[in-house]
Every structure is written in structure tokens, then in C-alpha cells.
């Protein structure tokens, strides 16, 4: 890489300082008298309205890594990467259906995490622990990938690059950024990312809109851009002697495309950080309204994806496709605007990283610390534990990215999507029916986790012959030899089969199904409703029993 771009770096630092100040000020925003409990620290007071929630959920789901990886896939000639668009179309009507129920029952019983709900619904500490561990496991590599997003922009700005730089020299800016993030997450909790999300999204919208209006005009229109991209794809296919790239998915890839979209959509709101954002809202209609409003981000994501083709037309030439978009901005825009774009990506990493670490901390505190280690923890101790854990989680992510090989975070992120979908039966089906037996759900979860991991391990990379494991999120389902599907969905089918069959057996055998603390009305409750029973408060404390 070339030297440091002073102007771009200056603009980047300005925005970084701005969000740092906001992050600390956030502690006083709509503040309660104390942040010393999880409702306040971990869920921002449970009172966010439609407007704040739109920014928070948008800032949470559309991460820096997405902004880097989706256009990178198209730049590299992997058109299936555009599945991110149907994925983010399909996801909102799906959450419109089930999330209001999860919100209601969580509001009624003061659940903070999805594992809290599973504990209350099934009375099974084992199943709740499985859901919590899956959530933490799936979230860690996701946080690590946010660091990769920051690394990429730092590298294009000329910071930290260079093979010969020492470990400290290379990663100091990244460590500083993360230390500051950790500090204000610790003090302000979920309010920090909620406030910073405004800056993030404003920057992202400005940057993308300018880019998709200016760049196509500059390069002679979309027709020229697509034909340039087509030429590159053809050249790649000729060089390889077989179809390795395409502008659009091949016919064989239709099932892959659809299953990635559906599987990812179903998995998205199983991730603890999505549920944290949802539970922070003030009433159940906030989520419904957002299901109708959030597609605005899908539009943005689609436009951004097409920038991958714009980068081809602009003759951006990078070995690491992830650098394509930052390099495009560096080449085609004045330094100050490139700085704004880099700030957008950098801050785009901070917001989800903060929410993810809070979500993982909530899971640890509620479903491991309080459930197993210290059942009599006071709310104050819970909050303290969660704050500490949010630091530990971030340290773990830093360790991941800096010490372990880079592919590991990406492989684990791929696995994370497969794993987290295996919690869907306990959470989503549990919102509608108590029929599935708790031990059957646990067995189905274990089967889905093991089978999904094994399938992913076996996949070689379709393009790089050096990669023999974890090379793809697609696999041939059993008894099929031409259409590959998203591994997460294949594993989910096995999970559901095991859970269904065992439920029949366990119910016939009269095995104790556990105590259900919830009532049908709880799933329709809204803020301000009459309690179902006056003594509900006694029943709603998810004790460790």
C-alpha cells in the first residue's frame, strides 16, 4: 500500500472522536436513575420507539463486514453473493409474524435473552444452556469479523499495512479503536450503540447514495459497468477452463440462492444481538412498524453490492477482494470524501460489535452466571457481571483476529450461521406450541449442530483448490446429487425430524415435560396491559430450578 492519506485519516479521526463522545454521553440519554441492572444496561431501558429502533436494528444487522463482504463477492465474480438482497426482503415479513409474540412474552416475564424465554417455557436448564452457549459461540466470530472491517479501511488509508510491520505497529490503531469501544460500552450499555447508530446510518446513506449516483455517470452508465464486469467474468472462466464465475447465478445455483436467502433470514433473528435490539423496544407495534420500514436498508445493501461491479469497471485491481470497495473510494473520490466513507465503514463496525458484545454478556450473565454459578445474584451484581463480560468478549474477538489465522474467524462465522439456526425450534416453535418435548428439542439441537458442523467441515472451496475444509456454506443434501443447499437448512431439517420423532416417544413414555411459566395471553400482551394474575410477579422470576 502507498503512504498515509492525511486528509482521509483526519476526517476518519474526526468522526471517530465524535462517536466516542456520543458513546460516553449516551449514558445520560433518557437515563434511568441507575444503569445498575440488565433492563437498563443490557436493554437500554426497554423503551426505544420506532425511530430509535429503526436506526438501532438497522445499525445492528447491516454490519461493516456485510458492507465489505457482499460487494467483494460480486467483485470476485461470485454472483450468489447477491442473495443478501432476497435474504433481507424475506426476513421482515417473517419477523412480523413471530417477533411480536417473543416481545410480549419477554416483556411480561422480564426475559432479557432468548435463553431466558426457553428456560421459562420449558423449565429446562439444559435446553436454556444449549441456546445460550450457541448464541455466545455464534456471536464471538461475528464480533471478530467487525474488526476485520476496521482493519480493511485502516489498511487502505495506509495505516497498519505492510508485511514487515511489527505486530504492535500493525495493530495498534485497531487495538485503540476497540479499547475505546469497550470503554463506552462498559459505561453506557446499549444506549451507546443506539446513539452512535444515528451517525453510522447517516454516513452510510450519504456515502452510498453519492457513490451510486456519481460513479455510474462517471463510468458511462450501468450498461457499461455490467459489460465490463461481464468481460472480467468471461476472462476468468476462460483462464480456468470451466465456469468459475458469473454475473448471475447459474441454473444449478437457484436452490443454493433461495436456500441461502431463506436460511439466513430464519437465522438472523435467532442471533442474540438481533433479539437484544428487539427487546429494547417500548411496545410490540414498534417491531411491526419496523418490519415495514427496515427494507429501506435492503435497498441500500443492494446498491452497495452493485458497487462490486462498479469496482471492476473502475479497474480496481486488488488481490484481496475485501479491499475492492475501500480502494474504489480511495481511487475515485477526493480524500475527504474517502475519509467519510472509511468512517462510515469503521463506525459501521463499532455499532454491531457493541450490541453483539452486550448480547453475549447478557446471555452469559442470565443463563450461565445466574442460572448455574450464583443463583442469588442481585440485579446490581448481574449488571456488573455483564459489564465485565462485555470486555472479556471483546478481548476474545481481538485475540481471534490478531493471533489466530484470518480464515478461522470467517470459517467460524460460517459455522455460526449454521449453529444459530439450530435454536429455531426451541425459540420460534416454542412461541406457538408447547408440543415439542424439552429433551427432544435438546436432542434435535445436538443432532443439527453435529451434522451441520460435519457437513461444513467436508466442503472444499469451489474456487481455491488449496482449501479443502469449510470452503463453502453449501452442500449436497442427502439423496440429492445435483442441487446444493445452505447447510444450515439441511441441518435444521434433521433437527426438526429428531425433535418430532423423539417427542412422540417421550410423550408416549410419560417423561416429565417440565413446567411452563407462560400463559397463552402472555404472547399477545402489550405495554400497559393488565397482569394476567396479581401474583404473577412471584412466578415470573426465572429461578434456577
Amino acid at each position: 500500500m502507498n503512504g498515509i492519506d492525511g486528509v482521509a485519516l483526519g476526517v476518519f479521526l474526526f468522526f471517530f472522536l465524535l462517536v466516542t463522545v456520543l458513546g460516553f454521553v449516551a449514558a445520560r440519554w433518557h437515563s434511568a436513575h441507575t444503569l445498575d441492572n440488565l433492563d437498563e444496561w443490557g436493554l437500554g431501558g426497554r423503551g426505544f420507539g420506532t425511530f430509535v429502533a429503526w436506526f438501532l436494528i438497522g445499525g445492528d444487522l447491516y454490519t461493516a463486514y456485510t458492507f465489505i463482504a457482499v460487494p467483494a463477492a460480486l467483485y470476485a465474480g461470485n454472483a450468489i453473493g447477491f442473495f443478501a438482497v432476497p435474504y433481507t426482503i424475506v426476513v421482515y415479513p417473517i419477523i412480523f409474524i413471530f417477533l411480536p409474540r417473543l416481545w410480549s412474552v419477554s416483556h411480561r416475564h422480564r426475559y432479557v435473552t432468548p435463553a431466558d424465554f426457553v428456560q421459562g417455557r420449558y423449565g429446562s436448564r439444559g435446553l436454556s444452556l444449549a441456546v445460550a452457549l450457541t448464541g455466545i459461540l455464534a456471536t464471538l466470530p461475528y464480533i471478530a469479523l467487525q474488526l476485520v472491517g476496521i482493519q480493511v479501511v485502516l489498511e487502505v488509508m495506509g495505516l497498519g499495512g505492510g508485511e514487515d510491520a511489527s505486530l504492535i505497529e500493525r495493530d495498534l490503531p485497531l487495538l485503540l479503536a476497540f479499547a475505546i469501544l469497550a470503554a463506552y460500552t462498559y459505561t453506557s450499555g446499549l444506549r451507546a450503540p443506539a446513539l452512535i447508530a444515528f451517525v453510522k446510518d447517516a454516513l452510510i446513506y450519504v456515502v452510498i447514495l453519492v457513490a451510486v449516483i456519481y460513479l455510474p455517470i462517471h463510468f458511462g452508465g450501468w450498461g457499461e459497468i455490467f459489460s465490463a464486469a461481464g468481460d472480467k467474468v468471461e476472462a476468468a472462466n476462460e483462464a480456468a477452463g470451466r465456469p468459475v464465475a458469473g454475473l448471475m447465478p447459474s441454473e444449478l445455483a437457484h436452490w443454493a440462492y433461495a436456500s441461502l436467502a431463506l436460511g439466513s433470514a430464519l437465522a438472523l433473528f435467532m442471533y442474540p444481538h438481533s433479539i437484544t435490539a428487539v427487546l429494547s423496544t417500548g411496545n410490540r407495534n414498534v417491531i411491526r412498524r419496523n418490519a415495514a420500514l427496515l427494507p429501506a436498508y435492503s435497498f441500500l445493501l443492494g446498491l452497495l453490492a452493485l458497487l462490486g461491479y462498479v469496482a471492476i469497471a473502475a479497474n480496481v485491481d486488488v488481490d484481496n477482494a475485501q479491499l475492492a470497495i475501500p480502494q474504489l473510494f480511495e481511487n475515485e473520490f477526493p480524500s475527504w470524501f474517502a475519509g467519510v466513507a472509511f468512517a462510515a465503514i469503521g463506525i459501521g463496525a463499532l455499532v454491531p460489535a457493541a450490541i453483539m458484545s452486550i448480547a453475549a454478556a447478557n446471555l452469559w450473565t442470565r443463563n450461565i452466571y445466574k442460572a448455574f454459578l450464583k443463583p442469588d445474584a442481585t440485579p446490581r451484581q448481574e449488571a456488573q457481571q455483564a459489564k465485565l463480560m462485555s470486555l472479556v468478549v471483546k478481548l476474545g474477538a481481538v485475540f481471534f483476529v490478531l493471533v489466530l489465522p484470518g480464515e478461522l474467524a470467517i470459517n467460524l462465522q460460517l459455522l455460526g450461521g449454521i449453529w444459530i439456526l439450530q435454536t429455531l425450534p426451541a425459540i420460534v416453535i416454542g412461541l406457538y406450541t408447547r408440543w415439542l418435548h424439552r429433551w427432544a428439542l435438546l436432542a434435535g439441537w445436538a443432532a443439527g449442530m453435529a451434522y451441520g458442523t460435519w457437513l461444513a467441515y467436508q466442503q472444499p472451496s469451489p474456487t481455491n483448490p488449496d482449501i479443502t475444509h469449510f470452503g463453502s456454506s453449501l452442500a449436497l443434501p442427502p439423496f440429492v446429487d445435483d442441487y446444493k443447499l445452505y447447510i444450515a437448512l439441511i441441518a435444521l431439517v434433521l433437527n426438526l425430524l429428531v425433535a418430532g420423532v423423539l417427542t412422540v416417544g417421550l410423550r408416549a413414555g410419560g417423561v416429565d415435560p417440565g413446567v411452563d411459566q407462560t400463559r397463552p395471553e402472555d404472547y399477545r400482551a402489550d405495554a400497559g396491559d393488565v397482569g394476567v394474575e396479581e401474583d404473577l410477579d412471584a412466578a415470573e422470576v426465572p429461578t434456577s430450578g
Binding site: 441492572n37 426482503i89 448471475m248 436467502a261 418490519a291 415495514a292 452493485l306 440485579p379
Partner: protein, 87 residues
């Protein structure tokens, strides 16, 4: 966790009954469009007709986004109208 729990909100409304079946069917029909259409890939995996140089595959999926938003908004209106009535 009972000690520092925020004060319960003022209790004014009774829990609402489940949605009637006709409303549920209407909601399912509205939401099925944005869930199912994007998953039928053969429907739109083609180059023509292009729009301003953009292949059909891409602009069709962009066009689905406002459709999905409209359908989900309609579902929102159906649900909230029903909940107001049943209160």
C-alpha cells in the same frame, strides 16, 4: 431480580383475544408475497428485459423491496385496526 425491577406500567387494558381466522388468512396472504416471491429464483434469474442497462435479475429484486414494504405495511394496518376494535 425483584428488588430493582422497574415499576410496573399502569395497568389499564385487558389481555387481547387471539386474531380471528379471517384476519389471520388475510395476513398470511399479504405476507406470503414478500416471503415466497424472492425465493422463486427461476422467476427472475434472466438478463432481459434490461432497465437502464441493468439486467432483469438485479432490477427485479430491487423492485421487490418496495413491494415487500407495502405488503408488510398493509399487514400492519390490518393488525392494528383489529387490535383497536377488540379493545
Amino acid at each position: 431480580m425483584s428488588t430493582a425491577k422497574p415499576a410496573p406500567p399502569p395497568r389499564r387494558r385487558r389481555p387481547r383475544p387471539p386474531l380471528p381466522t379471517t384476519t389471520k388468512i388475510l395476513l398470511a396472504a399479504l405476507l406470503a408475497v414478500p416471503i415466497v416471491v424472492p425465493l422463486v429464483v427461476p422467476l427472475y434469474d434472466r438478463e432481459s428485459p434490461e432497465l437502464g442497462g441493468v439486467p432483469f435479475f438485479f432490477w427485479f429484486q430491487f423492485a421487490l423491496i418496495p413491494v415487500a414494504a407495502i405488503m408488510t405495511s398493509a399487514a400492519y394496518l390490518v393488525v392494528t385496526r383489529h387490535e383497536k376494535k377488540s379493545r
